[in-house]
């Protein structure tokens, strides 16, 4: 086979390979949503994070606006300190409410950010004061059983 044709085929093969890798990175994987161009960092303290994992999404009204970057246990207050990264395009009032939700019955857990009414906006490094912990199924069942026992008396 002549050289030019051979080069063309191999070139197309390599280009297609890189295209496949790009599809895996951006369409199948989450590379684009993790590397948001401009972000700011917020923190929140939860009594219980349930099954929340790093890189879980932060949603507001169902739209992904950020990602969880880090989860630590605060050794003084024994609360979970969750650090999140939010897209600069989205600004939230100071009294916004953050909670841990589950997508579907068996789905992943994510953070839901409900905007408040304050005129001041959250800035880089701020702590979201109003944080609602994850609902743990066992606690819920325990409460129901306790209240049933109470009413049976």
């Amino acid at each position: 086979m002549e050289r030019a044709k051979l080069d063309l085929w191999v070139g197309m093969f390599v280009v297609a390979g890189f295209a496949a890798l790009a599809i895996l990175a951006f369409k199948v994987g989450n590379l684009d949503s993790l590397s948001m161009s401009d972000t700011y960092v917020l923190k929140a303290n939860f009594g219980n994070i349930g099954g929340l994992k790093a890189s879980a999404s932060v949603k507001s009204a169902g739209v992904v606006v950020g990602r969880v970057t880090d989860i630590k246990l605060n050794p003084e207050s024994y609360e979970a300190q969750v650090t999140i990264k939010v897209d600069k395009h989205y600004q939230f009032p100071k009294d916004s409410l953050i909670g841990i939700m589950t997508s579907g019955l068996l789905g992943d857990q994510y953070l839901s950010l409900k905007p408040g009414v304050d005129d001041d906006m959250l800035k880089n490094g701020d702590v979201i004061k109003q944080a609602r912990s994850a609902i743990v199924l066992e606690d819920l069942i325990g409460q129901v059983v306790a209240s049933k026992a109470e009413s049976a008396k």
Binding site: M1, R3, L6, D7, W9, V10, F13, V14, A16, G17, A20, L21, I23, L24, A25, K27, V28, G29, N30, L31, S33, L34, S55, S57, G104, L105, L106, G107, D108
Partner: protein
């Protein structure tokens, strides 16, 4: 003395096996040592990439599509009983990117390109072409073997990535177009669970390692083949069997290291 004969037999086999491992390692070292030519005269490698990579495209793409379709059908049937059909994209993409793309891609590559390499090198040896090259003071390893080795190492990750992409498309065809899983949740659950570093990069590393293993085995078996018709045929069979076993064995080790951090 039958006992002495058995022990002598065992000793002979052990010595033979150790000798072969040493010979194979030396052969591999020679390939790396004489790789200069395959990069200085890159045209040699390009020609081999055409034969090993481009010509393997059809089988890789068709197989990938079928695997994706089957994953879609089977995955849907299983997930349905938990009422989580929307995770179908996650299931298909993770199985392909982490395991099936690299492993099945490498198995197909071994039987498609690896066996051809062994037969070619073996026949070159049988017809004394390699000896003739040495007579002309051309090093057959740098001129014939090393370009084929690097072509395999280059082609394998590309083929595995294409396998995964086509497989995901196959799963999409069955899951979303044919069965009717929600398009949005198919892709969003997939993107939420497939991590670039953890899944995609590790898959590429796997296919890279498999590429090195398969081509090294194929070339060694061809180079080591007895210069007869029977010898070449045995060597080709051994290539496919050994490559397949080594791929699956390496996969166990790599998976344990990557996903369990052993």
């Amino acid at each position: 003395m039958p006992v002495a004969r058995t022990i002598r037999n065992l000793g002979h086999r052990t010595v033979e096996a150790v000798w072969r491992i040493g010979y194979a390692s030396r052969f591999f070292a020679m390939i790396l040592l004489h790789s200069g030519t395959s990069f200085r005269r890159f045209q040699l490698t390009i020609k081999e990439v055409y034969f090993t990579g481009v010509m393997s495209l059809v089988i890789i793409l068709v197989a990938g599509l079928f695997v994706g379709v089957v994953l879609g059908l089977q995955g849907y049937e299983t997930l349905k009983s938990y009422g989580s059909e929307s995770s179908l994209g996650e299931l298909v993409a993770l199985s392909l990117v982490r395991e099936l793309g690299p492993v099945l891609g490498a198995l197909l590559f071994a039987s498609r390109a690896g066996s051809a390499m062994t037969a070619e090198i073996g026949l070159m040896k049988a017809t004394e072409q390699l000896a003739a090259m040495e007579m002309m003071s051309i090093n057959p390893i740098s001129r014939v073997i090393a370009p084929r080795f690097w072509s395999g190492v280059i082609s394998m990750p590309i083929l595995a990535a294409m396998f995964s992409v086509v497989g995901v498309f196959g799963g999409y065809l069955v899951g979303v177009v044919y069965i009717g899983v929600d398009n949005g949740s198919f892709w969003s659950q997939m993107q939420a669970s497939v991590d670039f570093q953890h899944d995609v990069v590790n898959g590429v590393i796997k296919s890279f390692v498999f590429g090195i293993a398969v081509t090294a085995i194929s070339l060694f078996e061809g180079y080591d083949a007895p210069p007869t018709a029977e010898g070449v045929s045995h060597a080709t069979t051994r290539t496919v069997v050994e490559s397949s076993l080594v791929i699956l064995m390496l996969d166990v080790v790599l998976t344990a290291v990557m996903f369990r951090g052993v």
